[in-house]
């Protein structure tokens, strides 16, 4: 903490903190206000005497109704949820086992393999979607959820593996050795001792993987084409911007409602998540 006079604390702590919080939360406020604002106010010119951009005096749920009943938003939510959940589960299972192997088993090139896996994560998606599109077409997966469920792990598995590898390395080797002397086979030591201890790390990886899949845009845009197959980020953008007409109300309502599941996931696991980030494993 900052020591000294009270004004110093305000100047160096509360003021920057306030600015940071404001910068972080303002977009959400803006989304919420725009969602509730009637069209009449939304398209009022800035020099009108009644112009009030930060507030609305006549809130309405029209945009939300419009979003839910006039578009396929419910379907998009379901698609996104399904794709994000399955992609996360696949990536997590692979990542946890691969991370464990790279951190604990002694085999040739283990160190190099870890680095190589991380490098694959660094290849930009904007480059990868072209060859991937070819593969998707060859396997006739285009315009199905499987196109995304199977391609998201291409960047999620390296990410989870890398994260879990670091986490497993931080767990004292003796825990596992002790378990093996206590009568556990290697897999039992892994399941009963290492995984529970690594739970904060596993949850962090899960949250990240889920968020990355939920927000993913380019693969979803390229591999899906029919409106009823789309995910929230692509659906909202492609169906609510028609030509040069932006349907700001439903657009913002879609963005706001679309960000709720991620926020729920974060707040639900926040304690474990923080423990995972700070790597708190104490004997």
């Amino acid at each position: 903490m900052i020591e000294g006079a009270r004004w110093k604390k305000w100047l160096w702590f509360y003021l920057p903190l306030g600015a940071f919080v404001f910068g972080l939360l303002f977009p959400f406020y803006w989304m919420a206000v725009t969602t509730l604002r009637p069209d009449k106010e939304l398209y009022r010119p800035w020099n009108s005497p009644l112009y009030e951009p930060f507030w609305t005096s006549s809130p309405t749920l029209d945009h939300i109704k419009n979003l839910l009943y006039e578009t396929l938003f419910g379907q998009w939510m379901w698609n996104t949820m399904l794709i994000a959940t399955l992609a996360t589960i696949i990536s997590l299972v692979c990542g946890v086992f691969a991370g464990y192997a790279l951190a604990r088993l002694k085999f040739r090139f283990a160190g190099m393999l870890g680095t190589v896996i991380f490098i694959t994560y660094l290849v930009p998606q904007t480059l990868l979607f072209i060859p991937l599109a070819d593969i998707i077409r060859d396997y006739h997966l285009g315009d199905t959820p499987w196109a995304l469920i199977l391609t998201y792990p291409t960047f999620l598995i390296p990410f989870c593996t890398w994260l879990m590898m670091g986490y497993f390395k931080a767990i004292p080797k003796e825990l596992e050795e002790c378990a093996r002397i206590d009568g556990a086979a290697r897999w039992q030591a892994m399941v009963y001792i290492i995984f529970p201890v690594a739970l904060p790390g596993i949850l962090s990886a899960a949250i990240f993987a889920f968020t990355l899949s939920w927000n993913e845009f380019i693969y979803a845009l390229v591999f899906l084409s029919s409106p009823e197959q789309k995910t929230v980020p692509v659906g909202v953008v492609s169906e609510l911007i028609r030509g040069d007409v932006f349907f700001w109300g439903p657009l913002m309502a879609g963005a706001l409602i679309g960000s709720v599941p991620v926020a729920v996931v974060y707040s639900f696991f926040v304690e474990h998540y923080v423990a995972g980030m700070t790597g708190a494993v104490k004997g």
Partner: protein, 363 residues
């Protein structure tokens, strides 16, 4: 209850030869301590017995059965680690029960064993706590409890007291000794602390550079060290070493060094005669030295200059200098000397050791 036998045991990591031809026979009920400086191969040896480290060559057998290729779980041993290695997500009770659960013990049996062990160690009140809620000493007790519930054939201890503070270490040392007397399980204990080794071990094995330097009962090592390393390692403060030349004079042999000329005790003369004119290392323990009136016989005494006086209460340590060699003497608390004073230090002839200057083996 078991005998453990290590035969020509070797361990090589890439490039380093960590354990070299270790042969050791540990009897039933025996408490054997492996002691040595860090990197001497003692922990690696222990880990090979546990099955946590592959054996490069040689053989380990427990009760006559070779266990080289047996998984740790099948060796019926228990190990206590330096950092306790308690499972952080389990309560004390679950920690102690884990090994029994893995071995499919009956629930009632597990419960009675855990509670019995908790009684023995005085940790009954802690059974529902998590490891992070315990102090260092309590964690140590839980780690011990986890080892004893299974009633294994062999206990392995890897520096179990090093993470405790000095006072607690002394207390736990006594408790460990008491526990071993009560359970009579064969135990192998690794430590770098020679005091721990001397107080706990029925037998002490001193290791250095992967090789066994000497093994024997604690006092045997203290009184008859096999070489200079053991002589210097066992005992605190360490033995004084003085480089000397053997000079014959008539029938007697004398050891000469700058500022010192003492007679070689007659019982050692035969062995040292072939070193006439050659250099040897003379070893004198600090507690073998006593201040004497300067008129005393010069045969087994020498003059020294006091540099530092360390009064410890029960005794006084005198850091002195003989010629260029520092010599520590451990004397009675009643002795009154001050720095820069010249004093005469005498020793009993049977308490002087001689070592070969080249091989450093005892003569």
């Amino acid at each position: 209850m078991a005998r453990v036998r290590l035969k020509d045991l070797n361990k090589k990591f890439d490039g380093t030869h960590a354990v070299k031809d270790v042969n050791l026979e540990i009897r039933d009920h025996e408490f054997v301590v492996l002691v040595g400086p860090s990197g001497c191969g003692k922990t690696t040896t222990l880990r090979m017995v546990a099955g946590l480290e592959d054996i490069t060559s040689g053989e380990i057998s427990i009760d006559g059965k070779v266990v080289n290729n047996l998984a740790p779980m099948d060796r019926d041993i228990a190990m206590v680690f330096q950092n306790y290695a308690l499972y952080p997500h389990m309560s004390v009770y679950q920690n102690m029960a884990f090994g029994l659960r893995m071995r499919k013990f009956e629930k009632a049996d597990i419960d009675s064993r855990v509670r019995h062990a908790a009684d023995v160690l005085g940790i009954h009140a802690l059974l529902e706590r998590r490891p992070r809620q315990l102090s260092g000493g309590q964690r140590q007790r839980v780690a011990l409890g986890r080892a004893i519930v299974r009633n294994p054939r062999v206990f392995l201890f890897d520096e179990p007291l090093s993470n405790l503070d000095a006072a607690l270490r002394v207390q736990m040392r006594v408790e460990l000794k008491r526990l071993h007397d009560r359970l009579e399980t064969t135990a192998i204990y690794v430590t770098h602390d020679q005091v721990e080794a001397m107080t706990l071990g029925d037998r002490v094995v001193v290791m250095k550079d992967g090789m066994v330097q000497q093994e024997g009962r604690p006092l045997e090592l203290y009184e008859r060290p096999a070489n200079r390393f053991v002589a210097g390692f066992i005992g605190s403060p360490a033995m004084n070493f003085i480089g000397a030349t053997i000079a014959p004079q008539g029938d007697a042999l004398w050891a000469e060094a700058p500022g010192l000329r003492v007679r070689v005790p007659p019982q050692k003369s035969d062995a040292l005669r072939r070193y006439s004119g050659a250099r040897v290392i003379m070893g004198l323990r600090p507690e073998a030295l006593r201040p004497e009136a300067s008129s005393a016989s010069p045969e087994f005494a020498f003059d020294a200059t006091v540099e530092v006086v360390e009064p410890l209460g029960a005794e006084i340590l005198l850091d002195t200098r003989v010629g260029d060699t520092p010599v520590v003497a451990r004397v009675e608390p009643g002795v009154r000397v001050s720095p820069h004073e010249r004093i005469r230090l005498a020793f009993a002839p049977e308490r002087v050791h001689f070592f070969d200057a080249g091989t450093e083996a005892a003569i």
